[in-house]
């Protein structure tokens, strides 16, 4: 009896093993991390059912950044002088024949990096660089360290305080070069430092440097004169300057985002235009797109590579077809949000969570949900306070019982 029972179990086990792929559960999880314009908090919302998962108290109002892997969200609190790491709770593991998703509660990672006026945050291949404008110092920490709750950062100093940026680029670090004559103005170029912090080569000129993004294997900085385009060179980063084309009107890019799925960059260019950039082609690298009114925020769609989204001050969300280089659809979502006033006044921000585009409406205290396929509004989620910056993390994968 006992033997039979045991062998029956063994057979059942074998069967379940051989069909494990079919029995594994496909799970979709998306989370929204939202900061408040006035209050020191980050609210986490389950984007699938709209429920609130948690609220984290931090030290000051924050701008939010997610890592490339989506495992970490960073709250950069410029006025409070601290950067706080949050573990998103969602991670993926690739097993070749399938991808596993692991979903846990989001939590403060236990990592805080303090310093004067933290501003730009850049993740490059799992190394995070935060620039502290008040000190002219970059502090670099790996995602691995953050997720282990270790504040193991290294520090690189530039010559002066500046509204700067740093990128941990493999075994090198790219650092903005302060404007010595006019210390209040934007940086003037990029310096490359090796592992030991020693400068490699000269300064790569980039007047009024502001804005950085990656798309695939290309990294770019926006300058008053064009872009600095960074690729992996032989042993050290290869950097070239791509000037704005003569056909563009006077202007410059100061905010840059990178395409995902397709390799391109999208930047602002004048208050009521955006520019699509393909830095790999010689002519027609820049395609200018006019907007009906001034631009508030823009974001790329990481799932539907063909689209990016732009929000304008008349309360409209625009679906930008980056292949055709034109606005494909527009959707009125909010009341007017004038671009008059301070750059950091509460205005909508965009994030894409799977099949949903989410737009914050800080003055109404809601998130608007737009179906990314139909480009129609499907609902909203109330959020206390003034929901402002937003990032999303998530995706689909398999979970296995007993793991």
């Amino acid at each position: 009896m006992r033997t039979n029972w045991a062998s029956a179990t063994a057979i059942a086990l074998l069967l379940s093993l051989s069909t494990s792929a079919a029995h594994a559960e496909e799970v979709t999880a998306w989370r929204l991390f939202i900061s408040d314009h006035a209050d020191p908090k980050v609210t986490v919302i389950d984007a699938v059912d709209g429920g609130k998962l948690d609220t984290f108290q931090i030290k000051g109002p924050a701008s939010l950044h997610r890592s490339e892997s989506g495992r970490t969200v960073f709250a950069v609190q410029g006025s409070a002088g601290v950067v706080t790491g949050i573990a998103s709770g969602i991670s993926f593991e690739d097993h070749g024949e399938h991808g596993d998703i692991d979903v846990e509660a989001p939590k403060l990672a236990g990592v805080e990096i303090a310093g004067e006026k933290p501003s730009h945050f850049v993740d490059h291949d799992g190394d995070f660089a935060v620039f502290f404008d008040g000190e002219g110092v970059a502090r670099i920490i790996s995602e691995k360290a953050v997720l282990e709750g270790k504040s193991d950062f290294r520090e690189l100093k530039t010559d002066a305080p500046q509204h700067g940026v740093a990128v941990a680029y493999g075994s090198h670090v790219l650092l903005s070069e302060p404007n010595r004559e006019k210390p209040d103005e934007l940086p003037v170029g990029i310096r490359v430092a090796d592992k030991a912090g020693a400068q490699v080569g000269g300064i790569h000129a980039c007047p009024d440097l502001h804005g950085e993004a990656s798309s695939g294997n290309i990294l770019a900085f926006a300058c008053a004169t064009g872009l600095l385009v960074v690729t992996h060179g032989d042993g050290s980063p290869a950097i070239r300057h791509l000037p704005y084309s003569d056909s563009l009107p006077d202007g410059k890019t100061t905010t840059l985002i990178g395409g995902r799925g397709l390799q391109y960059f999208l930047g602002n260019y004048g208050a009521d235009k955006v520019v699509l950039i393909d830095p790999t082609i010689e002519s027609d690298a820049f395609r200018l797109i006019s907007l009906p009114t001034r631009r508030v925020h823009f974001a790329v769609d990481p799932v539907r590579a063909k689209f990016a989204y732009v929000f304008t001050e008349d309360g409209q969300l625009h679906q930008l077809d980056v292949v055709k280089g034109e606005i494909a659809s527009s959707l009125k979502l909010t009341g007017p949000y004038s671009m008059d006033g301070h750059w950091n006044d509460p205005r909508p921000r965009i994030a894409v969570a799977g099949d949903r585009i989410v737009v914050t409406d800080p003055l109404q205290g809601v998130l608007h949900l737009v179906d990314a396929t139909s480009f129609q509004k499907t609902g909203d989620i109330a959020v206390e306070g003034k929901p402002f910056n937003i990032v999303s993390v998530g995706g689909s994968g398999q979970t296995h019982e007993g793991e």
Binding site: E68, D94, G261, A305
Partner: protein, 327 residues
Amino acid sequence: MSRTLKLAAVIGAMTSLPITPSVAAAENLKVVASFSIIADFAKNVGGDRVDIITLVGPNGDAHVYEPKPADAATVGSADVVLVNGLQFEGFLQRLVEASATKAPVVELTKGGEVLRNTGEEGHHDQDKAAEGGEGHAAAEEGHEEGHHHHGESDPHAWQSVHNAELYVKNIADAFCAADAAGCDTYRANAESYGQQLDALEAEIKAAVAEIPEDKRTIITSHDAYGYFEHEYGIKFLAPEGVSTESEASASDVAALIKQIRQDKASAIFVENVTNPRLIEQIASETGLKVGGELYSDALSDKNGPAATYLEMMRHNITTIKGAILGS
């Protein structure tokens, strides 16, 4: 499945319209080839009835190519899209989606014998596909579109001339489906190019026969020559797997160096699509001299030694034979 359906739909449209569509008669077939080797086959089959745009050009590495919005526009306006398949073009799915193309996307390895990468362990995919529903920048498609499976199948089927004939046949079929009026021309072109391929294959076999059997182990940078090995009996070892996407680890390289010493490799080569540094390092550690440059996943530019598939295969076997016999 959808490809077959699309192709069937095109054929259906053709047969229900006995009169040749004016489009095909009036202007050339707009063909997009994913990379340079396919473009060369297509040129040989299509002749002056087709205009070909190549996405990944000479010396380009299609494994890691990142498609641009302009590529999506190109694919969107194509009549026929020719690809290798077997996950050689890691960018294909997101490009085709972004393009919203109505053209048939024809996998030229369809119907052929597929080799599995039986390669040494250690060529694990790096954990790059683990990307929450979002393409890893331009490098990976996300979980939203179904999981991206890193293929274990070896996509470099063109490295056997025998398979090249299959590519050519599939191209002729695709062109006939899209342009029935030109079908006789395509078949005739394919036939005469096939004769050149037969002659090429005989040359390769004759060259290999001149290499002593105990000297037929050589090194390249990535596992691009499985079909060549299978067909012609030269053993290729490489530090990188069937895709150049994941770099060789230090232990992969150490294992390879050990294997080179055991198997007494006769020669080592750099490849046109990969950085030569790793091969140079292995060469210096094993005392092998770099025997030249082989063309693996792309042709040379038109002034180079491998501007066409025929030239590429001749260049490769000549270089291999020269290095081994000269060593």
